[in-house]
Symmetry: C2
Subunit: 345 residues, 2 copies
């Protein structure tokens, strides 16, 4: 049987309360007594039963998730994962509130952060917009003792406690290697389709992609970046124009959202099989396009992992516990039509 607080109280010749004080290093214990207790803890190899402790404490973690509104499939999937976490609230002792904000709107985000603050949560997870006023708001939150983690898109210089998202430079490099090798057999230039260069993750993906293309495939021509604002309608128009302009186009790297428009343009111009297409985020649309062969590869960040990781970190930091950084690192998944995961309900 594992040793309990009783065992160590007996061994040290003190009461439960004193043991508890030492365990949670609260004040009010003579250092002699403390030593006795600590020795007992060590020799018995005591480890605290966290479940029992939480039960006794009745601890729970009020958390706020600030997520962008809009019909971006990835973001809706992310929200779904947060809702799934809400369903687990009971066993995880969390109580999660979702605060929706207009996408790419720094002012609105600052406002939302303020609202979140009012609720005095233990922690906040936020899909950040990369603007100084947002960073400032985050700083203030942290000064109040609220833990903040950025989700999907980071906000360096804000002092956020943690970033739950992928290394987007590495993602861009991965896309570059795949693109270079997949198009190895044919000539023609390659186009890059972004959402907006004002967003940090998009900038970083481009950086990684361009670097690999320059290093490893210097002969391949890279067309100037096209910005589709993550809007399917605009994206479709732009890609149609692109295809007309560049009849010999070998590949398209879509590093943002709005892939519905991209797929439509490729399929309706009959170019879906001849242009190598690499996109980001596994959504119902990109998944279908991958299956049909219109998209050749999808780089994905697992939204479920990101949400669960954010919650773990938020709870740990709220308790002043250390986080195993390596364990919380979000991987870049590569999906081909052959290794698609089973469709969730």
């Amino acid at each position: 049987m594992r040793p309990t607080v009783h065992d160590i109280a007996a061994k040290a010749g003190v009461s439960l309360a004193t043991v508890d004080r030492v365990l949670n290093n609260r004040p009010g214990v003579r250092s002699v007594t403390r030593d006795k207790v600590e020795r007992a803890i060590a020799t018995l190899g005591y480890v605290r039963d966290v479940a029992a402790a939480n039960l006794a404490k009745g601890r729970n973690y009020p958390l706020v998730f600030i997520l962008p509104e809009g019909d971006n499939s990835f973001m809706r999937g992310l929200e779904g994962e947060v809702r799934a976490a809400m369903a687990r609230s009971a066993s995880e002792r969390t109580q999660i509130t979702i605060l929706p904000v207009p996408a790419f709107d720094a002012q609105a985000l600052v406002q939302a952060l303020w609202e979140a603050h009012q609720r005095r949560p233990a922690g906040i997870a936020v899909v950040a917009v990369d603007a100084p006023e947002v960073a400032e708001a985050v700083k203030q939150l942290r000064d109040t003792g609220i833990t903040v983690v950025t989700l999907v898109s980071d906000l360096p210089g804000s002092g956020r406690d943690h970033f739950a998202g992928v290394d987007n430079i590495a993602a861009g490099r991965t896309a570059g290697t795949l693109m270079g090798r997949f198009t190895g057999g044919r000539a023609g230039p390659i186009a890059v389709l972004a959402g907006s260069m004002l967003v940090r993750d998009h900038r970083e993906r481009l950086e990684g992609f361009s670097a690999v293309m320059a290093e490893e495939f210097p002969a391949r021509q890279l067309l100037p970046v096209i910005e589709g604002q993550d809007d399917p309608v605009l994206v479709e128009k732009l890609v149609r124009a692109l295809i007309e302009r560049e009849p010999d186009l070998a590949g398209i790297y879509s590093l943002g959202a709005g892939n519905r428009g991209l797929v439509a343009a490729l399929e309706q111009t009959g170019k879906s099989k001849t242009i190598c297409t690499i996109a980001h985020e596994l959504t119902p649309h990109s998944r279908a396009a991958l299956s049909s062969g219109t998209i050749d590869a999808v780089l994905n960040q697992d939204a479920g992992h990101e949400v669960r990781s954010a919650i773990r970190v938020l709870k740990a930091k709220a308790d002043g516990l250390a986080v195993i950084e390596a364990q919380e690192r979000i991987r870049i998944d590569i999906f081909l039509k052959d290794n698609l995961p089973i469709e969730q309900a």
Copy 2:
């Protein structure tokens, strides 16, 4: 505040004991009473606090992991993950024993299963050897009420409760698509290097790979399978001979272990950059070869996920709970040099 057993006892006008009987549907309750209680449960929206229940029960799960011995890096990594799980035993209420057995030895495995049986564990996880006597042993274990999950390599027809491993046909297909596309720019045949065709996962990978090559890249010549017995020394010899025999070799798909020998042969013959190489399992060796460019892609199964999943399933089945199959599905990871995960300590 969440409703507790007290609330539902009060609401239904019965005692705690009766509520408990209904909750755990034990006998000895009139159906009228049962109905009353069930109605109270429903209207209050009661959900059981599993942590508290486990505390009260003092439940724990004795588990046995049967793992192959030998210096196979992947298997050693797997063992490491089991040991990591052992370190978490306290909080997960598990007590795990590792039983090492000689690799690929059906007789020894049957013996080990018997030994495991003696310990009367709640569940057993086993890296299966695909032999009828092993299947028979597993069947008998299950008849005793012990849950059995196969790990990494499956054993269909044994009635095992669950398989914690990847879809190896899909893995082979993924390798096929990558190989076909990566070698798109050049001519030459492709070789397949297996451990042994007597092992199920190797057979399945070959099946998937061959299928995709035939369907999608029919012009590409596939050389007869070479069997290296997962032995680095033998593998190196065979690959050297292969390279000499086929000077125009375009690619090698290594679907088993012993990649140290493969890498050595490629590097020492100076062919590492000209032959497209795809291998399985991310180990220190394959990782280094991926970084240096000798290996072009590694397909991986996350041993940590497999172990954690196996434990979750073992515990759930031991409690007669349902398993969310989709959640326990192990993904096929694709690693290029660009998206390698951070090295663990």
